[in-house]
Subunit: 496 residues, 2 copies
């Protein structure tokens, strides 16, 4: 394309990470330019790049609009524009979408271009979609994970073994991480844990920990904390470990797409970046994974990818049909965590945490892991370790469960039936907690007042929905009229 | 979501058709909002909708930015925002991407939501991608085509039969439409033809006709012209027949995606919208379609979809390995069209046009179609009809080929070899014409100076590349040093 001078209109807005150049339809046609093309803007000796978006009236003829990503480091009043060829990664994405698996370096190129915002969101979405045309091969999965690691920060420790755990999620209240970590760390193993905030669920570990301490640290500061107290519980978004994941997440969210390869790569890239050597994966069956076959398949894939990456991965399939613990929502779950660490609290949460800790002890070669974990928990050593971590992350180590504020408005739910086996509808419980305001509103959520599986008489109080926002009570009551938080049928088809 | 008041910042820019609401990351988190969510803005009694985009600094806390699509019909300084559930079509797109074919009404919902800009470009891209997970079933294809028709304008005529033709493209210089149409219309059949502008090729029929007359008319005006002179050749973009196609095209362009179902639906929806009853499809083998099997398969699919839509479709597989005619580029092709209509001009273009006209005559029940077409062309009746059409579309009917201006700079290319069978590389010819400036620069393009298949001695002039822009000569010369416009090998593996 022959270079042409254009006037520049600065658009006071950021777009999608990649810069955008807005062009009038007429100008675009005149210069054979189309939506999604890349334009280079040259002035003095600088060169900037943006992706073309066409508009009817917002810019004049012979004028371009440029989004903030393009102009924020300075731009001239007039620039020369020229058409760039697309990055090679666009060709690779096309190739994969049309059915051909990619080579390592091709996958790598896509991941790095994503990281550097060189792909438009439509182009990047086609990469996500290609995982449904054909799942990624083991080679592709490994290449993607390694590229995700290399495109971000990494941490390493001189002393090992470095351990980690991850739960694929979907179970309300299932806050084992802040209990397992102090148990393991109290035994002297390093545990550099990054966690996510909830996107579609009522709370992620990061949301819960945020009730108690700071969770936003750089990778460097995270390493310092781990070296000092043996563990850290940090929000993954702040440490820049495998940050490509956030870009992919934005593309997957609109359709709630969760291709398995992306899930595997996302999780293990973060673990690898944090220097972890032994990783336990908790796969609750009945939540995101519905049946034993799918759960086992996922378990094996985690282990295999881990092996290719030089990590030991163990997967446990757990009961994900029912909520775990008493509270659902950041503050309520933080209360449960503290009470369990103090030797009390919901039995199911305590038991699951001990079992997971036992598996990790087994992985590092400790015998009788369950008894060992129980001893650490019951002796109060785990709670002491927890307080050290909270303090290291700028929180109040002496906070008690009752000090954690929760909403003052509530709706109580009573059982409509007498049943010999109470069974919550996890999905409805999550929705209730979200309606109450979780995870954004820390003190909002649901309290489960009866034990799942217990005998319950009609009229017994089984749930309390809690919120600090009075307006939400109406929404909750309306929702409860249309939705039953209990499942009366037996949904378990097969006992594993 | 509980409603919250936000300040409004008008962003002076259009985006992708669908309006965008820009929100600070912190606010989004506070209210459990994510990228791609839909937000409703309420003020007074008005309600507006936009898709969420997050930003770091371009809006303040408790402020939203709104793109021009959202605010252009008026907005208050402060608005209440609330989260909307996604349109049902998003769920259908997800379903299809994950492998389940859709029902008629689900496809219909997607097409109408696309048309009404209710889908973000990422969501819409996933719909395009789903065609690669599994091709559309015949039911889906039909539903999509019918929805495309219903979402736009339609034309109907009281008198029939209404005929039409379409070429799937890929052959440089292949400008048969403006020759076939006057032949058929001269025999009294109505021919309401819409054509496209080139996107990646050197010229579309619309680009060529634009050299001679106006091509932008509404559906209503198009109908008037057809009723008056029996035919019209209009740019499809202006008539609003099956306009969803333009939206899909924008999504397909970045990766040059061309799923067959979309191709079929796009073409036949436009024909159906224009009231056509009998449609001839030209499938040049060797261009976009590479082999006989693929060509035949496509031919059958066109016919079958046509049948489901109540149209008679005939497909012809033509030789698409070589360019057709002498000129490549809008003005040069317009010259060829006029000379052929005047009884002279490139023999291959004349012959192919007569053959296609013969097929159409055969479809409407005229016997000896070829002889009939030849008679109409040779008698000058087709040329008279052409002049009527040009006049009706506001052009100068008496324009002669030599009056059509072409660029004054040129590069001549001489054969480097002696060959008994000259064979052009169509792809290189197209690229040369694009480099010269076609289709945006009408007078730019390529002249083929030797007949494909002819015996040529080394040193014979075989090509002239023409442009009105002197700067482009350097680009063309550089390109010619690296690329050979002739194919010396015999590329035809099999003779059909």
């Amino acid at each position: 394309m022959v270079k042409m001078m254009f006037k520049v209109k600065k658009v006071e807005m950021e777009t999608d990470g990649h810069g955008i150049v807005y062009l009038r339809y007429e100008d675009a046609r005149k210069f054979n330019i189309n939506v999604g093309d890349r334009i280079q803007l040259s002035f003095n000796k600088k060169k900037l790049v943006g992706v073309v978006n066409l508009c009817k009236s917002a810019v004049s003829l012979n004028e371009i609009g440029v989004s903030k990503e393009v102009w924020e480091d300075g731009i001239a009043e007039k620039v020369k524009i020229s058409l760039l060829t697309k990055p090679k990664s666009v060709k690779y994405i096309r190739k994969r979408l049309l059915g051909t698996p990619l080579k390592r370096n091709e996958i790598r190129e896509i991941i790095f271009d994503l990281m550097e915002n060189k792909l438009s969101s439509v182009e990047a979405a086609y990469f996500v979609a290609s995982a449904y045309v054909q799942r990624l091969s083991f080679e592709e999965e490994e290449a993607m994970t390694r590229a995700m690691v290399d495109a971000g920060k990494t941490i390493s420790f001189s002393k090992g073994p470095i351990v980690d755990k991850h739960c694929i999620g979907g179970v309300p209240g299932n806050r084992t991480t802040p209990i397992v970590i102090p148990i393991i760390a109290a035994a002297g193993y390093l545990f550099p844990k990054t966690s996510s905030r909830a996107i579609t669920s009522p709370a992620g570990t990061a949301d819960v920990m945020e009730v108690l301490c700071n969770i936003e640290y750089s990778a460097k500061d995270m390493k310092k904390i781990v070296k000092k107290v043996g563990a850290a519980m940090i929000w993954g978004g702040s440490v820049n470990l495998a940050p490509v994941d956030d870009i992919l997440l934005k593309l997957r969210y609109p359709l709630r797409l969760d291709p398995t390869s992306f899930l595997l790569a996302s999780i293990l890239a973060k673990k690898k970046s944090a220097g972890s050597q032994k990783v336990l994966i908790d796969i609750p069956m009945g939540a995101k994974v519905k049946d034993p076959k799918a759960a086992k398949n996922l378990a094996h894939r985690f282990q295999y990818l881990g092996k290719r990456l030089g990590m030991e991965v163990r997967s446990v399939i757990t009961d994900g049909f029912q909520p775990i613990g008493k509270g659902v929502g950041p503050s309520l779950e933080a209360r449960d965590v503290i009470t369990v660490l103090q030797g009390k609290g919901p039995k199911d949460l305590r038991e699951k945490s001990l079992r997971l800790a036992a598996e990790i002890f087994d992985m590092v070669g400790k015998r009788n892991g369950y008894a060992f974990a129980k001893k650490i928990l019951d002796s109060g050593k785990a709670y002491q370790k927890f307080k050290q971590i909270i303090k290291a992350q700028g929180g109040n180590p002496d906070i008690q469960a009752k000090d954690i504020e929760i909403g003052k408005y509530s709706v109580d739910v009573f059982s409509q039936v007498s049943t010999s086996y109470l069974y919550y509808d996890s999905n409805i419980i999550s929705q209730l907690a979200r309606l109450a305001g979780a995870p954004a509103i820390k003190g909002a959520g649901v309290e489960l007042l009866a034990l799942s599986g217990s005998k319950v008489k009609k009229g017994k109080k089984i749930l309390r929905i809690i919120t600090p926002v009075k307006d939400r009570i109406t929404l909750i009551e309306k929702f409860l009229k249309e939705n039953d938080p209990l499942i009366s049928r037996n949904v378990i088809i097969e006992t594993i």
